[in-house]
């Protein structure tokens, strides 16, 4: 099966990306982000989950939260390349919202066949959701969970749950008598306790969740298959966010390097500053191309999806690390302070780097695919 020359990124996708950029540029400039999330600078602060719910509601009204929901569940059914374009813009704005978590839940539910439809209809109706599928060790293997289901009730705990306080629904993986199963749970159901983590990243919230005899709706008894099918989209979506954030880091640092004068020249005159910034750009472009190629493969050539998505997330994690380091370093002293906005993205990228597997994790799986087991 051949893929589209243009990744399948058509006019509609271009319009969506452009309008997202404008919407966020108009409504959520970086100083507003800083004012919103950077109130408490103390290292021992608790995570206070500050976000603009009004703006998020506008996004929901624009249909952005249900873009990936199939049409038969009342969604828009847009291809992943279009979604990636939107997410890239959200990453550029570092906008705190449960879009990515809701998308991730959508991918998994869409891989559950008809059993996923009722939950998808709720997402299409405006409910935000997140995945609670990670164990205490932070394992990114889909089979690992610390939640069990007995007699239709969930017990145990899920860790590293993203946006837990911004969503109303949880998609939980649990060991059940049938194997590994998926459950759809209201975030405020009796027996669910959300325990916020105190995290480095100011633009996100994360929690661990305890389940005590929680009544849950079973969605699938083959969670492993659904999760494996959804993972490439989950990695690719996160990589798109990281590419957008890295572009903000690049452009902001270029702007500073063009104005700040030392030794009678703007910093960017000196090749010791110019060349690393070019290298940041080169890495961003590699990652960005790999993101859209993976997104296209997921829709058009599923046999390549897994390897292409591993490449996209591995590449984006390296890019995020490098762009973050250079963005602070090239700002010099001011870059090291709380008042400079660079740290907001630095921290968001650090969070994204490890989330759903860091670069080395993805490369080791890619090696399994391309080289295989060698005795």
């Amino acid at each position: 099966m051949a893929q589209s020359d243009n990744f399948g990124f058509g006019e509609e996708a271009a319009l969506l990306k452009e309008s997202a950029r404008k919407f966020l540029g108009d409504n959520f400039p970086t100083d507003r982000l800083h004012a919103l999330v950077a109130g408490d600078h103390t290292p021992e602060r608790m995570s206070d989950c500050a976000w603009e719910q009004g703006l998020w509601q506008q996004m929901v009204d624009l249909g952005w939260a249900m873009l990936a929901v199939p049409e038969k569940a009342g969604g828009v059914g847009m291809p992943l390349v279009a979604v990636a374009g939107l997410v890239e813009e959200l990453g550029r704005a570092a906008f705190p919202c449960p879009l990515m978590s809701t998308l991730n839940s959508t991918y998994v539910l869409s891989a559950c066949g008809d059993a996923g439809l009722p939950a998808l209809e709720e997402i299409a109706g405006g409910s935000a959701a997140t995945l609670a599928i990670t164990n205490r060790d932070g394992s990114w293997n889909a089979a690992d969970t610390d939640v069990h289901c007995r007699d239709g009730k969930l017990s145990g705990s899920a860790w590293y749950v993203q946006d837990a306080r911004k969503v109303s629904r949880l998609l939980v993986s649990a060991h059940s008598p049938a194997g590994l199963s998926l459950y759809w749970v209201a975030a405020d159901a009796p027996g669910v306790t959300i325990l916020p983590d105190a995290i480095v990243d100011l633009t996100r919230d994360q929690a661990h969740i305890s389940f005590e005899q929680v009544e849950a709706t079973a969605v699938s008894d083959n969670a492993l298959a659904a999760l494996h099918q959804a993972m490439p989209a989950i990695w690719t979506t996160l990589a798109a966010d990281m590419v957008g954030a890295a572009e903000w880091q690049l452009q902001t640092t270029v702007e500073y390097a063009s104005t700040r004068q030392q030794f009678d020249h703007p910093l960017g005159f000196f090749q010791a500053v110019k060349h690393p910034l070019v290298d940041v750009m080169i890495q961003i472009d590699q990652s960005k191309s790999l993101v859209y190629s993976a997104a296209c493969a997921i829709a058009e050539e599923p046999a390549r999806a897994l390897q292409d998505a591993h490449m996209a997330k591995a590449s984006a994690s390296e890019t995020a690390a490098y762009a973050s380091g250079r963005s602070v370093q090239c700002h010099g002293g001011i870059g090291f302070t709380w008042e400079c906005f660079a740290h907001l993205y630095f921290k968001r990228q650090k969070h994204s780097q490890m989330l759903w597997g860091d670069a080395a994790w993805h490369r080791s799986r890619l090696a399994q695919l391309l080289i295989g087991e060698v005795a």
Binding site: G268, S289, S293, A314, I371
Partner: protein
């Protein structure tokens, strides 16, 4: 149906079918001599004869110069060179020897030469009967190309040229040279002019070509000395003092970012060709033994090989994204990275291959035990040619920083 064929226009489909048929019936026979890695390392007339014969037959069949007008010896088609290239590569034909002519001289002459000159020069360039070389770099003008000192002094209708060019690949076989020189010593950039110069006919009469030997031990490039060479004013491209602008056309095409597609072939697989890519690196890692196990079992090497796989894939997908304006923040941003990325990725892949080889990385081409015939140490050394030629990686980073990111110009 191949991936490319699915997107063809009707004209391209017809042309593709034609190319495929022709290549099936006219694929050149196995070379009688060992071929070099690229046209730039052609050393003997036997090699050149074989490759020139192939280029001439491909041109006569219409597979070269497809998108140039018929008046200058082209095929008068639209966007068909790409098709011919894909089919030549698919048919694994040998590479085309007149690489500098096709890739750099042809578009430059086409965009900046007078009609009569184009009509005279381009047909024999396309056919490969005239080999071309490039006279840009000088001992004192490398990265600072605009510092060329080769000087042309006007003498009636003629110009008298004196100077010294270096790194001139193929000059020992070339009939013609594209030549960047100075016609005015008082202006650095605006004092430059651009000529095409017949050099073979002037050997011993104003032109001396001497081979330079590369660090690999191979020959292939040269220095060229001009001693009162007299040329006609009709060999000048564009206006006097516009040499720098003309040179930009050449460099854009040299770096793979130009408008006119370069004829390319060179898919022939034989012992003589060896691609510096991660697929070959993986094969190597399966064969080489490290601590009693295949190197491909070593987790650290696997990780580093995957880094190269990912960079290569990123470069390939960049080319695809370069054609999707909605996914580009700056129109030239991705194209201008091609040369830099391709050369640095290949260099790192070759360097990693030598680590994979371990002790056997010490063995060179004359050793029967050398893995892959000693091609990896050769490729590693040659990779520095790629990161230096056509604008060093450092100059490429300046260009990207200044033209794309808008950073202040470095001295």
């Amino acid at each position: 149906m191949s991936d490319q064929a699915r997107k063809d226009t009707p004209q391209q489909t017809e042309f593709r079918d034609y190319c495929r048929d022709w290549l099936q019936q006219n694929r050149p026979s196995e070379p009688p001599v060992r071929l070099p890695l690229s046209p730039l390392e052609i050393m003997t007339t036997e090699q050149l004869d074989y490759l020139q014969t192939w280029q001439k037959s491909a041109y006569d069949a219409g597979l070269i110069g497809c998108d140039y007008p018929q008046a200058v010896g082209g095929g008068g088609r639209t966007d068909c060179q790409r098709v011919a290239n894909e089919e030549m590569i698919r048919a694994r034909t040998p590479f085309l020897p007149n690489v500098i002519g096709l890739g750099m001289a042809a578009p430059t002459v086409f965009y900046h030469g007078q009609e009569a000159l184009k009509e005279r020069l381009l047909p024999r360039l396309f056919s490969g009967e005239d080999i071309w070389c490039q006279g840009f770099s000088e001992p004192g003008a490398g990265s600072d190309l605009a510092n060329v000192q080769t000087f042309a002094e006007r003498s009636g209708d003629k110009w008298v040229i004196n100077g010294h060019k270096v790194w001139t690949s193929l000059a020992h076989f070339a009939e013609w040279m594209i030549l960047l020189l100075r016609t005015d010593k008082s202006h650095k950039y605006d004092g430059l002019s651009y000529f095409v110069v017949p050099i073979r006919s002037a050997l011993g009469k104003g032109v001396t070509v001497r081979p330079l030997i590369k660090m690999t031990g191979e020959t292939g490039f040269n220095e060229v000395i001009f001693d009162n060479l007299e040329v006609d004013d009709s060999y000048r491209l564009d206006e006097l003092g516009k040499g720098w602008q003309v040179a930009m056309t050449t460099l854009l095409h040299e770096r793979g970012a130009g408008e006119l597609q370069t004829p390319r072939a060179g898919g022939m697989k034989s012992k003589s060709t060896h691609a510096t890519n991660s697929a070959n690196l993986i094969d190597l890692a399966r064969e080489c033994v490290r601590d009693g196990k295949p190197a491909a079992a070593d987790p650290l090497l696997r990780d580093r090989i995957m880094q190269q796989v990912i960079r290569e894939a990123g470069l390939a997908q960049n080319q695809r994204r370069a054609r999707v304006p909605a996914l580009l923040d700056h129109p030239m941003r991705v194209q201008l990275q091609n040369k830099l990325l391709a050369s640095e990725i290949a260099q790192d892949t070759a360097a990693l291959a030598l680590e994979v080889e371990g002790a056997s990385a010490s063995l060179y081409m004359g050793d029967e035990h050398a893995p892959a015939g000693g091609q990896w140490p050769l490729a590693y050394m040659n990779s520095y040619g790629m990161t230096i030629a056509a604008g060093t990686s450092e100059v490429q980073r300046n260009i990207l920083g200044e033209r794309v990111l808008g950073l202040p110009k470095s001295k």
